[in-house]
């Protein structure tokens, strides 16, 4: 199994590591049993994601996808963040080994979970097609 240079770059120098104290939305996905947990923090102002941070327990791919996913949505309007796909994360990282694709799913779900939290806090409905599907059972995302 070989990681691309991009993956190694985002693993070695992960962007956006940390927490946001007054986060507008927080999402946690995965479980320690399967070895990956991602926690995404979003700061949203006027419909724009002004800051995104993460904490991740997991393998190299889990850290790199967290880093890339937060990079991809930072500064973007919510509408664009909602559309973040795991495929986009994989492409931005110049690919992932097949056994690591579930890590990119985790990153997408983490962002969606944080957005869900944002909508919930505001008492608003999250558009149905973008709602997170993560049920904490990693076997569903395929290895």
């Amino acid at each position: 199994m070989m990681y691309s240079e991009k993956v190694m770059d985002h693993f070695t120098n992960p962007r956006n590591v940390g927490e946001i104290e007054d986060a507008s939305g927080i999402g946690e996905v995965g479980n320690a049993k399967c070895g990956d947990i991602m926690k995404i923090f979003l700061k949203i102002e006027d419909g724009i994601i002004t800051d995104a941070k993460f904490n991740t327990f997991g393998c190299g791919a889990a850290i790199a996808t967290s880093s890339m996913a937060t990079e991809l949505i930072k500064g973007k309007p919510i509408e664009e963040a909602l559309k973040l796909s795991n495929k986009a994360v994989v492409e931005a990282l110049d690919g992932l080994p097949p056994v690591k694709l579930h890590c990119s799913v985790l990153a997408e779900e983490g962002v969606k979970m944080a957005l869900q939290d944002y909508y919930n806090k505001r008492g608003e409905e999250m558009p149905e097609e973008y709602r997170p599907r993560c049920d904490g059972d990693c076997s569903g995302c395929g290895v």
């Binding site: 070695t12 590591v17 946690e28 320690a32 070895g35 991740t56 327990f57 393998c59 190299g60 791919a61």
Partner: protein, 390 residues
Amino acid sequence: MNVYADNAATTRVSEAALEAMLPCFVENYGNPSSPHHIGQKAAQILLAARQTMAEHLGAEASEILFTSGGSEADNQAIITAAVIGARKGKKHIISTKIEHHAVLHALNKLEKEGYEITLLDVYEDGIVRLSDLEAAIRPDTALVTIMYANNEIGTIQPIKEIGALCREKGVIFHTDAVQAAGHLPINVKEQNIDMLSLSAHKFHGPKGAGVFFCRKGIPITSIIEGGAQERGKRAGTENLPAIVGMAAAFKAACEQMPDAAARVQAMRDKLIDGILQLPEVILNGDREKRLPGNVNVSVKGIEGESLLLMLDQAGICASSGSACTSGSLDPSHVLLAIGLTHEVAHGSLRLSLSEYNNDAEIDYILSTLPPIVERLRSMSPVWKKMKEGK
């Protein structure tokens, strides 16, 4: 600095082994089955290698079967015992939960064919209890197969006592000695071993050669059919260079064992003591009854693969039992068998040393590891939860 600390995976070939092998490629390249002088020269070299292996195992040359490695030897031993058992209506096999997959998967296959498999528990220390084995042996038990030393946590089983118990009960005893050979003393007669597997590349021999020792009187079942090599019990032209390299490496390893083991063990103990200085790190497997070169710890709050990648970037080659390094969602069956939670098993780190390592390398590992652990923990939600929970 580059540090190779993954000697349980494979080892560097020793100078002695390499020197012994080289003439087999260009001078003594004959086929030992050929009657001409070049073939017969090869046959002589093959016999000498067989005698060397036998001598250092306390066996007879006729009891040594050369294989492609440990996995093949394990498979052949298990199939041999299964066939003998089936003839007598005995279809029960006892093993442990921490065996190598070469044993466990061979047993899974037999289970599907109607054999009954009992896997003994090991305790937190990773050691089998004789009383559990005694209770598990039945009149229809065909085989007890228990590894000499574990490949992940390095724990050493009481092989001699297990062998004595099996002999008393009239059950064939096989031991997978792949991790032990060349590192721990072996004498098949004194240790009551009926069948044993070993692999050259774990003791500074080349890859692609191993031994299946089978005590005389036990009829061997061949698993590779073809020519009459290895007394018709293992077809295929012998891998002479690798076999010769194995014999040279094994001889050197056995002769140097007391010194080398003491030196490697001193490095191991320094490494264990140093790593255990880190908070929330535990040693996996018994501290005393473990291979001289094995260190296996769980670093709580972080995941093994990311730890390995960062160590690798610092030049340190190690291993982990995390799921991410196994290609499945489950961490190592060995770590789960000694009672670790999935979460803690995912954070395992194995550093396995050999006589090629030195003190400066141990110091380097000990100075490199803490900041990496610190860094990964600082971004781990699991670690944060652990700290908040206290």
